[in-house]
């Protein structure tokens, strides 16, 4: 409050320096001794592990190093985001594994966040039935081991009939024990342009929303953004697509002999892993979201209600921004858990990085390198998630004092 020029609290040059007294009763001496001791022990354990490993490798005559990565892998991989043949190198095989892990982790995180938020808000709903269903879901899903749930989903998918008797709920969609077959179209340049137009449409919508917000600030009248959003995000790509002559050759899966041809496939392994990870993690995220919303005091709701605001508006403008502070750190933990839990893929035969690195180390005998690669991959993914979430968290942090 008082101006800094006259404030005597700001006049000095900080606290006086205390001399270090060489005595065991000095807190700082003790602190230094303990730190030196701990660092020494850690260094000793590290040295011991290292020398032991080197000794054992020598005895067993195992060559170390990453030279094996250039050798031919010879291992078949069921699904891959990049072209892959068993004649490719181990490096390519491991890359496929990393991409498969990333695929299930990224899609899983997005879906688990959506499902978890919906369930978390539903559990707080005043609708008795809705909140009870949400509560039941959370309690059941959290109390069963994830491995069991993955095996459950996989067994269900395996229990589906074979391709010849595939379930055919809608024209072009087939559910069988070979996975889910979905119709697709023959992808051409026009479709790429349309996709690009959709991305541009999303960008334009954000811009449009900002302009509309500015207009509202100028004259007070609220404006609807969603009609323009639909036009930009759906209409624009359609127009681009039509401008290219609207190429449309449906690629509908059909039974040829013993299996399907055409369309795109979602493998039962990927599907089971995704459902399992999403439903399981969503149970935890739901509780995180619920706790976050409850952490905002009732007084905030009341103050906003007394000002005449509606509940949805209060949730968006008052409660959620505050709840996010509480939600983000445990949410990050759940994202990391989902990513690391994806290594349970091994149990149901989805070829993620752990599965492929395991096969690699079995075939080559390079156990230490194999494990090191797995660790490096998970560390990189996890640290990236952590860094991003911490950045986001600091961005929305509250200013206090």
């Amino acid at each position: 409050m008082s101006s800094s020029a006259t404030d005597p609290r700001l006049a000095g040059a900080g606290p006086p320096k205390r001399p270090l007294r060489l005595s065991w009763s000095d807190e700082r001496v003790r602190g230094i001794v303990w730190q030196v001791l701990v660092v020494g022990i850690v260094l000793f354990i590290g040295w011991w592990l290292w020398s032991n490993t080197v000794h054992n490798l020598e005895v067993r005559r195992i060559a170390t190093g990453f030279g094996f990565l250039d050798r031919e892998a010879g291992l078949p991989i069921g699904e891959s985001l990049i072209p892959y043949e068993p004649t490719d190198t181990y490096l390519t095989a491991l890359t496929v594994g990393v991409l498969n892990t990333l695929k299930v982790a990224i899609i899983g995180i997005v879906l688990a966040t959506i499902l978890g938020t919906v369930v978390g808000i539903a559990r707080l709903s005043k609708n008795w039935l809705l909140s009870k269903i949400a509560g039941f879901y959370v309690e059941v899903i959290r109390d069963l081991p994830l491995l069991l749930q993955l095996l459950f989903w996989y067994t269900i998918l395996q229990a589906l009939p074979g391709p010849r008797q595939a379930i055919n709920p809608i024209e072009g969609v087939f559910l069988s024990n070979r996975g889910m077959k979905l119709p697709f179209i023959e992808w051409t340049a026009a479709h790429w342009w349309a996709l690009l137009a959709m991305v541009a449409g999303i960008g334009l919508t954000v811009l449009y929303a900002r302009v509309m917000r500015a207009r509202q600030y100028a004259d007070g009248q609220p404006r609807k953004v969603w009609p323009a959003a639909i036009a930009l995000i759906l209409g624009l790509p359609l127009a681009v697509w039509a401008a290219f002559g609207a190429p449309f050759t449906p690629d509908i899966p059909a039974l040829r002999g013993f299996n399907f041809r055409g369309g795109i496939t979602v493998s039962p392994e990927f599907f089971a892993l995704l459902i399992g990870l999403v439903t399981y993690t969503a149970g935890f995220i739901a509780e995180v979201v619920r706790a976050g919303i409850l952490s905002v005091s009732q007084g905030q709701w009341e103050a906003a209600e007394a000002l005449g605001m509606r509940r949805g508006e209060i949730l968006r403008k008052i409660v959620m921004p505050q709840a996010l502070r509480v939600i983000i750190p445990p949410l990050t933990s759940n994202y990391l858990n989902l990513t690391k839990n994806s290594s349970l893929a091994v149990a149901i035969g989805y070829q993620d990085i752990v599965s492929i690195a395991n096969t690699t180390l079995n075939q080559t005998g390079q156990a230490i390198e194999g494990i090191a690669i797995i660790m490096l991959v998970y560390l990189t993914i996890s640290l990236s998630i952590s860094l991003f979430m911490n950045w986001y968290n600091s961005k929305i942090a509250l200013v206090e004092r």
């Binding site: 007070g220 906003a304 007394a306 605001m309 509606r310 508006e313 403008k317 921004p321 509250l398 206090e400």
Partner: protein, 262 residues
């Protein structure tokens, strides 16, 4: 508190206008607990009512019923000629006319002081942002903290926060202001600055209902003091009559406890 008796604020009560608030036979229960028992009260436009009573007497619940933060279960409440009901439109209309100040301030901690004040005018009153900001600055000046506009609530003292809360409510240009123990959470040195703000507000002719134990404030501005105990209105009358000549034992006991505390 009220040792220094300050000049009373002239009454702005208008008997010619329709009453601002009318409670008729209002009853409310929390479970089996009968918290409001047959409350009948009429507040005239421009009238300033102080409600006092021991804790748990239902005074907060009563004023919270007036803008429907609590729902009454029996009887009628009519505010500014609009009857409170389950109709959301009438609720919106009433909440726009009635401002409220809470014991625990309830400022929005993620918004600046200015944003706290402009939020509702922009989104509820649909006011242009510039206009809302000018209005907010005007009221922040009235409560004498315009220099804090860019700060966050966590950076202010309790008294300053409560004055911002008053400014925030005033920015909606309410016809009626409700105060729910506005000084109870404050340090003694900050009580005066908030009371001064409320006295200033009383001088503008605002219809006010204040739940407070500040007897000095009641003497200075109140047209009427209402004493509540165990969910019912026990006594009601001009401040002097209530404080100097209590009729019931309950009020006598309450006053003796209040005065001993100060």
């Amino acid at each position: 508190m009220g040792e220094t008796m300050e000049a009373p604020v002239a009454s702005a009560m208008r008997t010619d206008a329709p009453p601002a608030i009318r409670l008729e036979g209002v009853n409310k229960w929390f479970g089996a607990l009968h918290v409001l028992r047959d409350i009948n009260m009429t507040v005239a436009t421009g009238e300033r009512v102080v409600v006092c009573g021991p804790s748990g007497s239902g005074k907060s619940t009563m004023i919270r019923c007036i803008n429907r933060l609590e729902q009454h279960q029996e009887g009628r409440i009519v505010v500014d000629n609009i009857e409170l009901s389950d109709d959301l439109r009438s609720l919106d209309a009433i909440r726009r006319e009635v401002g409220m100040v809470f014991q625990s301030f309830n400022l929005f901690p993620h918004l600046t002081v200015l944003e706290n004040c402009t939020l509702a005018p922009i989104w509820v009153r649909r006011m242009p942002k510039k206009e809302a900001e000018a209005l907010a600055m005007e009221y922040l000046e009235r409560v004498r903290i315009p220099e804090q506009a860019a700060k966050y609530p966590g950076q202010l003292s309790g008294g300053q926060q409560q004055r911002v809360a008053i400014a925030r409510a005033l920015c909606m240009k309410p016809k009626i202001m409700l105060f729910d123990e506005p000084t109870s959470a404050l340090d003694p040195e900050m009580i005066k600055e908030v009371l001064d703000t409320m006295v200033m507000l009383a001088g503008t002719g605002m219809t006010m209902i204040c739940v407070t134990h500040e007897m000095g404030f009641a003497r200075q501005v109140a047209d009427r003091v209402v004493f509540m105990d165990r969910g019912e209105i026990v006594e009601s009358g001009e401040p002097e009559a209530i404080f100097s000549n209590p009729q019931t034992d309950r009020l006598k006991l309450f006053l003796s406890q209040i005065l001993r505390g100060h």
